[in-house]
Symmetry: D2
Amino acid sequence: MTRPKKPLRSTMASSTATTITVQGMDLMQDIMGRLNLGDYAFLEIQRRLPTPGESVVFNAMLATLVEHGMTPMAIATRLTYLGAPESLQGAVASGLLGMGTTFAGTAEGSARLLQEALAGDAANTPDEQLPMLATSIVERLRATRTPIPGIGHNLHKPVDPRAPRLFELAAEHGLSGRYVKLMQHIATAAEQALNKPGQLPVNATGALGALCSEMQIPWKLCRGLAVIGRAVGLVGHIAEELHHPIAREIWERTEEECATPTNH
Amino acid sequence: MTRPKKPLRSTMASSTATTITVQGMDLMQDIMGRLNLGDYAFLEIQRRLPTPGESVVFNAMLATLVEHGMTPMAIATRLTYLGAPESLQGAVASGLLGMGTTFAGTAEGSARLLQEALAGDAANTPDEQLPMLATSIVERLRATRTPIPGIGHNLHKPVDPRAPRLFELAAEHGLSGRYVKLMQHIATAAEQALNKPGQLPVNATGALGALCSEMQIPWKLCRGLAVIGRAVGLVGHIAEELHHPIAREIWERTEEECATPTNH
Amino acid sequence: MTRPKKPLRSTMASSTATTITVQGMDLMQDIMGRLNLGDYAFLEIQRRLPTPGESVVFNAMLATLVEHGMTPMAIATRLTYLGAPESLQGAVASGLLGMGTTFAGTAEGSARLLQEALAGDAANTPDEQLPMLATSIVERLRATRTPIPGIGHNLHKPVDPRAPRLFELAAEHGLSGRYVKLMQHIATAAEQALNKPGQLPVNATGALGALCSEMQIPWKLCRGLAVIGRAVGLVGHIAEELHHPIAREIWERTEEECATPTNH
Amino acid sequence: MTRPKKPLRSTMASSTATTITVQGMDLMQDIMGRLNLGDYAFLEIQRRLPTPGESVVFNAMLATLVEHGMTPMAIATRLTYLGAPESLQGAVASGLLGMGTTFAGTAEGSARLLQEALAGDAANTPDEQLPMLATSIVERLRATRTPIPGIGHNLHKPVDPRAPRLFELAAEHGLSGRYVKLMQHIATAAEQALNKPGQLPVNATGALGALCSEMQIPWKLCRGLAVIGRAVGLVGHIAEELHHPIAREIWERTEEECATPTNH
């Protein structure tokens, strides 16, 4: 085989008999007792420590993703735990697998839109041209009948309360920049184009996409934040299931009703 | 169908058009900007906020579980991401599924041992009887050739440096109680029984099991902490894979070598 | 690094520009159009073709594992498909993860019992000593309060109709040997020991364990048959979900009921 | 809650104490001993039995999907089995999750193309207009820089040998109709448009997409065939891993090389 081997390299972690180094830091002295789990997630994804402001905002971003109540994912985790309680990891994995495109549960779409809009030469777009950029984005999406990511919400009307809270925290900590502005201009442009004034504000997903972009997290990793947050939440659902199980009842009701003969 | 229906109940979260409540708390005011991700995990699992000390120690416990370098789990996640980059959740799930019994990667075993040893009437075992209890536990495990969980380490010799750091933080924050004592007595009893003085100290897994028990986290949920921590780490591996991919090289080398004819 | 490398070898498959070889056979000429999927599964697991009798019986064994109606696994697959329809593989994986210890859904337990009982010197146990062997097995299990695998059924009473059908096919095709006999003696011994005459016949799981053993399939792979069969069934559930969806209704009912305030 | 409940219905299976009915058939009499696993998969997906010709061709289609050697999926399954051998279902699930868009491992793309091209009024396109239809499809895809699914292969050159074998079997059994013709015209049109005569014949994926369409299997279920086939193959890889393990060596080599310091 003449294919030249490429070296395998990683800077994630290394160990000796007496040391453990993660991302170039001493696990025991620099991480344990110093970093909270959100900071550690930031370190893993961005390969640097968050600033104090990034720490607050990043933890708040993850906080919006942990717990959404009795979602299809939570139910799947509980049903899988019923069948294989000895493999808790499988129950969490089962639920995570439902984090797909249906519930738009990630900031991926809006982060991609924003990052591509301000990439390359466009990175220098002056602030006063952002409304025009937003209008052209909305027009382009509408022309191809593509949904506009990050605006409106089917339950939280008119405003998804997580979005203003995220923007407030970002502003407090100096993380509200051009991506946030562009996202808000997109919402305004969409409301105008669709003639729905005040009805399509930026939602949590749009705010997350904008703030990931402010922190230079690539859009391809935004779903990773959702996966991290939801892994926490799904373990929480297993904890409740241990104390107050409902999976068997959901299963039995479903099985019984499906087995009931009907006239049609 | 005459089976009486049991009601489905959950107190995880609820929403209205303008509010989101999680574990009885207002998501925007009480959680976002206030709780870090480790605290939120504690809230989800224990249905109450951690004390300041619990916050430090619980985040440190999670920190020991995030990143173990290029484990089989990390490689599986990277290979899966190579095949299905559009489904990041599947890549993380794929890696999580390797968190089973081989690598003793969870505190489940030691937590169960400790919680069962101090359950019921034994909960009142006086401190001075803990060494005797430890000796009888070690004898019982050895009689059934059951491995003693939570002691020794194949790489970190003689001491897994995470364990003393966890115990140090627990002591600083008033979380070092009878479970920690019993775990340490078990290590000592095992060293005596196996005639390996100073060679089988409590390892990270044993320390985690003891501290979960101090915090009254049921042993059945201890693997959940490992799943949460590792979900963070596996997203980190995907982040590195995006910047510096190695999965294709691992695959191609393996495929080529497996395809090479041999004489035997 | 001085650790000597072990060579990586596999005889699963190899390809050139014009050929594809699987298990030493030409895929196009020897497999496609000749082997059905059950035969191919046998070839993959046992690394040889099944005999005509093994083909019939092995396909019948798999057939008992495909479709069990609206199980927790099927519901989990449907809920996951609702969230991520673009990743059908994730929906099937989600359901497979529920194949654990709760529903005793595999022949693993009975196969292990039988294979360990007739291993080594015991392999030559004369037929007339099998009843005595069965009695001692049942006594040993009862002494340690271990459930006796492969007998009785909570719905199919007194007889799980799949078991006699499997045994009938095995007898027709010369695959009913000492493992089948031992399994049946175990059922009889259990009925005597528990004073439940005629109430604990061999069930489908016990029959599968016995027939896997007759075919020299190691007990560690028995769950693999269940996974293969159930993967087929879960794709079937997705097919029905496409035509007649129920996942959203299951989710919405559950979410609504869990959100309803109660007085207690 | 005033939302009207929709009834939950399923016709997959039903059971009583003495009967098991699947897809309206008696499991013991109509399926076990009569249907092979491929036929049963057809029954589950299409809710009717295959004709004898469909049985041969459908099993051959599945046979192309079972075993592709040491793929990233197979390696992931082996690594996961190393970590959690007690949860074989998790190891198979882990590998299945890599069946995404990278390896174009499913017939989904070509099936969708063909089914949408011959949907509605176009269903009556006369045979002599199929070449023109193919040309317009290729032009449309090229105009949007969309890859043409189902043609060419990076290893099997010039011809993927599975495709002619699938088409041969389909022709023998009366299953070679307009979808097969259109797929072949698309390959020809692509070769002309890209000026690569004879270099972009229909590959296995294209043949599978065409034959799924001939059997009226919706394109959304085509990936299901790949999942079924690959589940069989991944259990085969676990069987080989049991006899001749390689996962630990792959892991250790990777970990060691990644840990080696470099000068850059």
